[in-house]
Amino acid sequence: MDVTVLQSLLLTGLLRGGLYALMAVGLALVFGVMNICHFAHGEYYVLGAYAAFFGFVTLGLNPIPAILLAAFLSFLAGVITDKLLFHPLRKRSKGEWVMNAFLLTAGLSVVLQNVYRAVFGMRYRGITQYWDASVEIMGMSIAADRIMAFVIALSAIFGLWVFLQRTRTGRAIRAVSQDERGSMLVGINLDHIHTLTFGLGSMLAGLGGASLLSLSPAYPYGGNKPLIASWFVVTIAGLGNTQGAIVAGFIVGLFESFSYFYLGQGWQEVASLCLLILLLLFKPTGLFGTNIKSVWEK
């Protein structure tokens, strides 16, 4: 095989994978800590894209402040969503939480898509580029936007990792994902941790939408594709496994870029789904999932 083809496939796969990882980590975090099968994750991606668009175009902000504004607004939206919807539901549900929460996210997705449609209309709001530049890597010229999106995704994931591993609050988030009663008994306020987690998950999605604005414009239904992609990654990794989601993000990115090249456009999704079906047949817990039971029984 031609070396330059291999290089370019690897490169596009990695660039794609970084953003899959970013979206999937948010989803895995929300599932692992809150036990929510989140089907409105894509709507926070779209929110981030809209926020970045208005920040960049309407307010004329520089790219980085516009993206940071989008991250902040998605975080805020996540916090409000938890306070307004999931918190009251949690107080009322007991055994049926997983199903109730799932239905709530499915409904939320429909509502948010239609709110976007009513407020922003059906037109695509995109930009041609944040940075008017391109970077030469391994003999290929790649738009600076793609590189920056990748760098932003990796920095956000790394930042989250440091936060979870090294800070007191991060440790508490991990504790809640492991044992809720144990967490309460050491004095952790579960409500605060849940709200923060949902905010963080939404922020990661919003960051994804914002940094990819030049590649996929803001659009009311623009969240469906990233939602499916991130569920795909999370299922491959094993539900609720944040570290697995990072690796699986890259696996899926590379797999898609290779199947796109060898099977042709449109077939990469077929190939991915076949991969998923095979995986679920032979290892239903996902590549890195071992303790699904403990999460469900928590």
Partner: protein, 235 residues
């Protein structure tokens, strides 16, 4: 320090505790004994806020804590080590212990507590980088007790620390509890292991069918004819 008056509690429509009153004073080692299903664990759950009492009151350090959320009660200085331990299995021993000190902000004091716990249970120091889920049964109990101590609690409630342990480990755990008591920690211990418990506790309450059937000093209870016949198998 801890005063429980006419407590009633249960699960859903099932009432387990009918009328429980007990009293723990500063520095005391109090045991709650009784057979399976007598309501010992439910009593601890109701005190710690894991379930909310249906009636009665719980006072801790002269403050009403009846029906407060568990994390608030824990912040008041009451530490509860459950029968299931509720460890964070996928986290390291050290992270588990540091989480025990979640409510304390002073890093230096937390370090000092960590050293004290390692001093009390040297095995935890050896295992500090290991995942809690990989520990043996006895080590897990020690980690749970250690985590409970990390908040520098005024009162430590321990539920069945001997459950499922080999006899040698049971003695280790009991010795650790006695050592804690000698260091001035106030303890409320729930046990089915009546004989051993009465050897180390100052006083005990005997629970039967959701109420306190008998109470007194450990020495007095060891001589009690009824207790001897029912729990100690002596005539």
């Amino acid at each position: 320090m801890l005063e429980v008056n006419h407590l009633q509690a249960g699960y859903g429509n099932l009432n387990v505790l009918w009328d429980v009153s007990l009293n723990v004073r500063q520095g005391e080692f109090v045991a709650l004994i009784g057979s399976n299903g007598a309501g010992k664990t439910t009593t601890l759950r109701a005190i710690s806020g894991v379930i909310s009492p249906a009636a009665g009151e719980v006072r801790f350090m002269n403050q009403m804590i009846t029906g407060m959320a568990p994390h608030r009660i824990s912040q008041q200085g009451l530490s509860y080590i459950t029968e299931e331990l509720n460890l964070f299995e996928g986290m390291t021993v050290q992270d588990n212990l540091l989480l025990g000190a979640y409510t304390r902000r002073n890093g230096r004091q937390v370090r000092a507590s960590l050293e004290q716990v390692f001093d009390l249970f040297p095995i935890l120091k050896e295992r500090s980088a290991q995942m809690a889920g990989t520990l043996s049964g006895g080590e897990r109990r020690m980690l749970a007790i250690g985590r409970g101590l990390m908040s520098e609690p005024d009162l430590l409630m321990v539920d069945e620390p001997s459950l499922g342990l080999a006899p040698k480990m049971v003695m280790n755990v009991f010795q650790a509890l006695r050592a804690l008591h000698e260091r001035g920690v106030t303890l409320l211990l729930v046990e089915q292991n009546v004989h051993n418990t009465l050897q180390i506790a100052d006083k005990a309450y005997v629970m039967e069918q959701g109420t306190v059937a008998l109470q007194g000093s450990s020495a007095g209870l060891l001589d009690n004819e009824y207790l001897k016949e029912t729990y100690l198998g002596k005539r």
